[in-house]
């Protein structure tokens, strides 16, 4: 009899062709960014090796490129999330009429919306770079962790919203998370010495936890270190995903 893992592979396998197409499109778009990123990391690394004093301030520009990568792969999450809302409204009835559990379906979408785009994003940066530079510099790896944790936390929020089966809500949340919230938080975080001081500190904390990659680019003083922010993001993402699985196990119904 097929195990839970077999069923998940079968369920995801059905979407593999579509996933491959969207990944290729994403890679095509990302390929415009990749050479710049490669150049930046290579130059930065070589200059540091020759003269650490002359090294350009690489972290800001590298982060910009990485952020662009993250944005492109976030599109993949959003498209999967919309697909999930449609599936839960319609063909979930078919799938859950087979020997498949609610948690199997939940894990499949967790992989498609959250884990696959986050991991593919990091791999799409790392694998081409490692062809030229087998040992990636430490600060760059730190940036990658920031990117990964940012993608994981934001996609986890989108994942949970997708369980509501409302496409418009997924789109609205995605727009908010990708376009508006980071800028709003940055704006609020940039007024630490005004009457908005308390709000500013809260915004800085939220920015560091929800968007550690963006926080690494902000000139404001952050109440949390980037490492703590990144770790908090990972813990929070794990908690959100655990709650999502518990919801599917105990409450999710197909009407």
């Amino acid at each position: 009899m097929p195990t839970s893992a077999d069923r998940i592979v079968l369920y995801i396998g059905r979407r593999l062709r579509w996933l491959t197409y969207s990944y290729l499109i994403v890679l095509f778009i990302a390929s415009f960014t990749s050479p710049h990123l490669l150049m930046r990391v290579l130059v930065s690394s070589n200059v540091r090796t020759i003269s650490p004093i002359l090294a350009p301030p690489s972290s800001y520009t590298t982060a910009q490129h990485l952020l662009m990568f993250g944005f492109i792969f976030a599109l993949m999450s959003v498209v999967s999330a919309i697909s999930m809302t449609n599936d839960l409204r319609s063909s979930a009835l078919f799938h859950l009429s087979q020997p498949m559990s609610r948690v199997d379906i939940a894990i499949s979408w967790m992989i498609l919306i959250s884990w696959a785009p986050s991991i593919l994003c990091v791999l799409s940066v790392v694998v081409p770079l490692m062809c030229y530079m087998p040992h990636l510099p430490g600060p760059f790896l730190k940036d990658l962790l920031l990117l990964f944790s940012q993608m994981l936390i934001t996609s986890s929020i989108v994942l949970v919203i997708s369980a509501t089966r409302r496409t418009w809500l997924v789109l609205a949340t995605s727009l908010l998370l990708v376009f508006f919230l980071p800028f709003l938080l940055e704006l609020l975080a940039s007024f630490p010495f005004t009457s908005l001081g308390y709000l500013s500190e809260l915004a800085s904390t939220a920015l560091t936890v929800l968007y550690p990659m963006i926080a690494s680019m902000t000139p404001s003083n952050l109440p949390l270190s980037l490492e703590t922010g990144s770790q908090s993001a990972l813990v929070l993402a794990a908690a959100i995903q655990a709650l999502y699985l518990i919801y599917f196990k105990l409450r999710f119904e197909v009407g």
Binding site: M1, P2, R7, L10, R14, S90, S91, L93, F94, H95, L96, S97, Q98, P99, M100, S101, R102, R251, E253, V254, G255
Partner: protein, 304 residues
């Protein structure tokens, strides 16, 4: 031996009750009709039995298992056709059934058998989206029987079909119940059509089970006419004698026998008369519409 046991099942959607303490049992090997008007709770019952909906209270067992907690095990033993089946896009008929077979851990042989039994053998390469409603129902039944389920749940299998397609689907359900030796629970709001294929009935109204039992018992209890099948070599000669018999309402001549429509209060007398003449008599069915009308009338009297 019970295949399905439901006790005091209640299911609410918000403040609206879909089922209010429904209690019924389905015997193994039976073909049971779940009858009631639209909105009576038939679809909700089937979804609870499949573990798609969580009961608010009550006890539900399918083959001794709790469908909400043991969903995978229950669904492995159940085949289901939903009232409005939705199939994932982009599949051909055979691909869809092979997908179902793989989830059930089966090989392609089970798919061939399902295609053959449901008359879809020539449509294996057709796109699911190109099938007519009648063939979509056949596909749903084919998907339901992949893997030899012990229980078949059919929710309004003839809904939105033309009369010819309805007869075809009912004949198919009847054939499958004999060929596969499964327990069948089939729901419909078109009450008379199921009397051809079922031997038990559960009558549901406003979320409550108002009556249940085998058709013969129900016919006697609610004074419904019944159909008896008589095996005889010379049916025409016997038919003219039976037409004059007290309690016989109608006679239909078949090859090698005849169907007798008999008033409910004369069933035993007619049966004894025929059997004393050395004829083989079998109970076929009773008028579900009569039973339903009488049950509803009884309930109206009680509540009035």
């Amino acid at each position: 031996m019970e295949a399905i046991s439901v006790e005091e099942l209640t299911k609410k959607f918000g403040r609206v009750y879909a089922l209010r303490g429904a209690t019924f049992h389905v015997e193994r090997g039976s073909v049971t009709a779940l009858l009631g008007p639209n909105g009576a709770g038939k679809t909700t019952t089937i979804k609870v039995l499949l573990g798609l909906l969580r009961p608010n209270s009550g006890r539900v067992r399918v083959l001794g298992m709790d469908p909400w907690r043991e969903e995978v095990e229950v669904r492995r033993s159940i085949g289901v056709l939903h009232e409005r089946p939705v199939y994932p896009g982009g599949f051909r008929v055979r691909d869809l059934l092979e997908y179902v077979a793989r989830i059930r851990g089966l090989n392609a042989d089970s798919v061939d058998r399902a295609l053959r039994l449901t008359g879809l053998g020539n449509h294996g390469d057709a796109r699911v989206s190109s099938l007519s409603r009648g063939y979509l129902q056949r596909l749903g039944i084919a998907a339901a029987i992949v893997g030899d389920p012990e229980v078949l749940l059919l929710d309004e299998p003839t809904a939105n079909l033309d009369p010819a397609a309805r007869m075809e689907i009912l004949d198919l359900v009847s054939l499958l119940s004999r060929e596969l030796d499964v327990t069948v629970l089939v729901s419909s709001h078109i009450i008379p059509e199921l009397e051809r294929i079922c031997d038990h009935a559960i009558l549901i109204s406003e979320g409550r089970v108002v009556e249940q039992g085998n058709l013969r018992e129900l016919a006697e209890r609610y004074r419904s006419s019944v159909i008896l099948e008589v095996k005889v070599d010379e049916p025409r000669g016997l038919a003219s004698r039976l037409m004059s018999m007290d309690g016989v309402i109608g006679v239909e001549i078949l090859e090698g026998g005849l169907f007798l429509k008999v008033k409910s209060d004369r069933i035993r007398e007619v049966e004894e008369d025929l059997m004393s003449s050395g004829l083989s008599v079998t109970f076929r069915t009773s008028s579900l519409q009569d039973i339903y009308t009488n049950v509803v009338a009884r309930d109206a009297n009680i509540s009035g």
